[in-house]
Symmetry: D3
Subunit: 139 residues, 6 copies
């Protein structure tokens, strides 16, 4: 759609709903619903579904990386939130906070997580500002 | 020290060793040594000691925030590392990885942490790139 | 609150108003009102008040760091704004611009500040892109 | 305008429309309209027009940097988008995606661009997380 | 290795050479050598090989994303460099600049790329600093 | 230079010295020397001189933006340092700290600046983490 006054065009992608989804996308949506035990796919998956390869790759990476390993699933969600807060990604903060709550995150845990994120961001900058040299024993 | 050729001056701060430390700084160094059961203060504390207020405030914040609460100390160290990796702070990555190891972090845990950090940084950007809208149920 | 359709839960914190505030929080709110000569606490303090320790620590740090020293209070507010612009933190840009105006920042000063922020962000990236080596006289 | 209840003042700048524009600003607006073949100036130029020097300098830099050279104009727009996605700048993503579409960017190209941006952000963090050393042959 | 004086432990991972590589890692190294027509694996792959899953996933993602599509391979490398410059990742700047050169990037192209990266980083901050509102026609 | 073993090529730019400088570059180097009252050009200017347009544009922007206006030159240097610390740009931190010292920055001022940078980076993240809403009076 072109707006001749500005010479502009609408540019970004809309979420894809179940009806418009291709066979490949529908198949992945069904995997997500089954694995997550949910009935409605969230905007993240619907929107990246505009590129079925990215949808598939991201879902597969997520399944492989976020499953229980040496770290449990809750800890992994907390790490996800901490990174998303540092990057100021509202969507990821909200969606992974929801996911973490389902895995047992309490409000008290979230508040402590935020305090650590705040402190780490402060000391990261202190280190750069003072140009602190790496100690020999840390190399 | 002025280098007249460049018109430049050396500018940043050097780590403060025990001998040059003021009474206030020495007192905090002693607290750190006692609390951490170490004999030598690392460059981070020695360098920010150029500003005794920052040294004191940072040490007090760290003690308050990183102690066991709803989250255990190891989880807090892992979060610290995840933030530091996202901010590319080598010193903080190395020093908190050392701290986390003392609290039980295994190599396998660190590798899984890194995989989460990588994935979160990727999907944070996918969300921004596709301008994914926050779902109503997440607001 | 659980939305069974999505399996989601609302997750983040609401601002705390005077009525719901604990004794500890109320005490700090009163300090802020007195110090700032205001009648209504802003959303920043109300929201981080969900974690009274974070509220107290942040208020104390702010008082210690932002008071007149070798740098005057206006210069410190300008620095705060410059960091917040670099981190794209709308709330902090707006609230510290308001604070700076009360301390004497004119529109002309804000425009010049923004020009410096823009230029510094550009040249920071030029340095990284060209991998400029630190001159000997700067070490 | 001062709100005495909060002690606050409205702080940031409004877009400047054609009527309020100074002679210098009007002249640059006309250049933009002519060069871009558009009738209405977008909010970016109208807002930075609060500082006519910044408006002039930015427009001149843009003309010099974004014109066809060893890289064609479309490639330059794609690079602009990739940086803006990495910095989470919604305005710049949307406006340069519109500009790129006018220069021939297809939806398929934009999706591939986003996939590269996601991957690069992931591997950038893997490099920092693992503290990968630069190979000798790359120095 | 523990240094009792500091209470520290060496923490991060060393690159894995061909001799120490597991069967799975060796197989992927061979794929990389064949695909890239090189005899020696670079530090990036050797270091992330400490986590064979991450090695495999990253290599597969890279092959899928960076192959010729609607964008050619050179353009994709240029986008990779632009992101890496914005994130200040020296390793990725150097390695992808080397890769881009093999695909035809000239010095002139790299200089123009850097100019775009610098400008985009500046205007991204101008947008945030002035809090420019998204025009209706861009939504 | 190609290293056939790795298939790599050396890629980035070297600083340009007075002898190799083109007429255009030499002219700008002379302006810098005169304006700055220095005898040797620093690596930043020598390296970006690989692209004479970038050299000229950056020097002109710097002269226009960093000259005394509503803000004095020292305050502008302090803002530059604060941005560079937030972006972890060692070169810019060091070179602008040197420039600020020549304009009157004391060690005490630099320490206070760093404390503000640390605090702002912490509270920027607290705002994002708690998703603090902008107060009506700030809009």
């Amino acid at each position: 759609m072109i707006n001749p006054k500005y010479g502009g065009t609408m540019t970004l992608f809309k979420p894809i709903d179940d009806k418009k989804a291709s066979v490949k996308v529908k198949k992945i949506f069904n995997k997500i619903k089954k694995e997550r035990k949910i009935k409605v796919i969230s905007n993240f998956w619907r929107t990246i579904a505009n590129d079925p390869n990215t949808l598939e790759r991201t879902w597969n990476s997520l399944c492989q990386i976020m499953r229980k390993g040496a770290l449990n699933q809750l800890t992994k969600e907390l790490l996800y939130i901490a990174v998303s807060m540092t990057n100021s990604c509202e969507y990821c903060i909200r969606s992974h906070a929801a996911a973490a709550k389902k895995k047992g995150m309490t409000d008290k845990m979230l508040k402590e997580l935020i305090a650590v994120v705040g402190l780490a961001n402060e000391t990261n900058r202190l280190v750069e500002s003072y140009q602190v040299e790496v100690d020999d024993y840390l190399k």
